[in-house]
Symmetry: C2
Subunit: 298 residues, 2 copies
């Protein structure tokens, strides 16, 4: 009962009917069960990539609001068929999987109409970007939450907001120079969130389905998890923009909107754990421990 | 240069020789290159488990200082051959892999001399336990750092310290009751640190080698990632206490001591990134983003 009182204070949502106090703290399951169709959104096919990775599909939602130039270059590469028949070239345990061209120099595949150098896009102005606050502290950012369906950090002093490297974040590999990336080599975070990469490398989106097909790839034995000669690399059979697929072939995944009361309730349900299993209800929640639910379109 | 000044302030370690200021901020690589043999420790074979998982080995360092009764029960089970021929029964993406007996009820394997109920051991008194502070904030604990080679949270007000659920943490599966676990079903964290489990479930140690063999297992398609009928489960051929193996068959892994100046330098090198690749040096470090290096015994 002591926790119920604390919960009421924490949530500030206990409803007094005059006769009884109704605690409104809820479990994750009860919040999800109460979601309505309007809480869910379809992916925008124009900024959704489908990667055919051997017999599996990985679906990536791009974030042109945060990295317009890098996303545009990636779309050019994809529509040019640049990635088709390339490979996952790196799988480093508890870090990233990276795909691109294993060949270098004169043997490397042409980038076609795409640019060779695209300046890193590390943060953007807050402007009027919708923001759902997570609340509580964060180790890396003054404030964290969700914008447009992506986990973000932001700084009201600088007026800037940026995409966070949570599990599934997709970014643009680069060398030391900030304009040395172009999207021809992309990585996805397959382990504990490497938040030290935030604002050091361009995040262009996140995997919304099929993440396990990248995480379970055998690790490369070379430095940084790159595969070495003789190790099998998973083939990227093709990457296509969902809009370029027939409607029936597009991913049927829907994502829970992060600008809804349902998502805000879900945040509280994950922060203060009411499930019987929990011996203490925690009371804190870290950005990358707040998954954004997906479902198959009903 | 501006960053060098800030670094000096942050680290408080700039050395003035009278003639010149020598910045002492270092890269991860330079700290590691400067480690000496005394910075490394062998595993104690009496509290090290070796799991033969099909053709791979997973090495687990147990933490009897934190969970003496659970560790003792696990050692009893292991020495009884309880795990030999059992399976990884669960692989949930970005969460845990769990191994134990897929059979239940009357078909379940006997626990032999081991206890059926062991009370959860969620935290312990700080006492004189050596502690290396990470520094900076944490979302879940008043203070975080390392004790005895394990990442921990602690609270000077309550005088308590506990093992943190970082990648590779090994814990004791339980039902709702706090004494419903006994070590016959163990899990390892294979994804982003589920720190909300800290002090809710008993951590008994962590994987120090072979973690990738658990993380790359195909995901189970059942609820919570449990495998369902017809799905291949990886076989736990055997688990043995390293002390019960011939010396030549024991793991040759060494772990960097966390109570050394080298490890403290490594913390600072990971907090403030001096590598040329970084566009900004970060300046923060989260507990589970601070790996504890291992090497093969020279």
């Amino acid at each position: 009962m002591r926790w119920m009182v604390i919960l009421g204070l924490l949530l500030g949502t206990a409803v007094c009917s005059g006769e009884e106090a109704v605690p409104t703290a809820r479990t994750v399951a009860s919040v999800m069960a109460g979601s309505s169709d309007s809480d869910w959104r379809d992916l925008d096919p124009k900024r959704t990539l489908v990667m055919q990775l051997e017999s599996n599909q990985v679906v990536i939602e791009l974030a042109p609001d945060f990295a317009p130039n890098n996303v545009a270059n990636i779309l050019t590469l994809v529509r040019d068929g640049y990635f088709d028949g390339l490979f996952v070239i790196r799988s480093q345990d508890n870090y990233v999987a990276q795909w691109g061209d294993p060949a270098e120099g004169e043997h490397a595949r042409s980038l076609g109409k795409a640019k060779v150098k695209v300046m890193a896009e590390l943060e953007r102005d807050i402007d009027d970007l919708q923001f759902t606050r997570l609340g509580g502290d964060d180790v890396y950012a003054p404030e964290v939450g969700f914008a447009g369906g992506f986990p973000v950090g932001r700084d009201l002093v600088s007026g800037r907001v940026w995409l966070a490297h949570c599990y599934g974040a997709v970014g643009v590999g680069r060398d030391n120079e900030p304009d040395s990336g172009n999207g021809s080599s992309l990585y996805a975070v397959t382990g504990h969130a490497p938040r030290h990469l935030d604002r050091n490398i361009t995040v262009v989106g996140r995997v919304v389905a099929g993440m396990e097909h990248l995480t379970t790839l055998p690790r490369g034995s070379g430095e940084l998890g790159f595969y070495v000669e003789g190790e099998d690399m998973a083939e990227v059979e093709w990457i296509k923009v969902a809009a370029d697929l027939k409607p029936k072939d597009r991913p049927k995944v829907q994502v829970l909107r992060t600008d809804t009361a349902t998502f805000m309730s879900l945040i509280e349900a994950r922060r203060v754990r009411m499930e019987d299993w929990f011996l203490h209800p925690v009371g804190q929640l870290e950005l990358c421990s707040m998954p954004i639910p997906t479902r198959t379109r009903p």
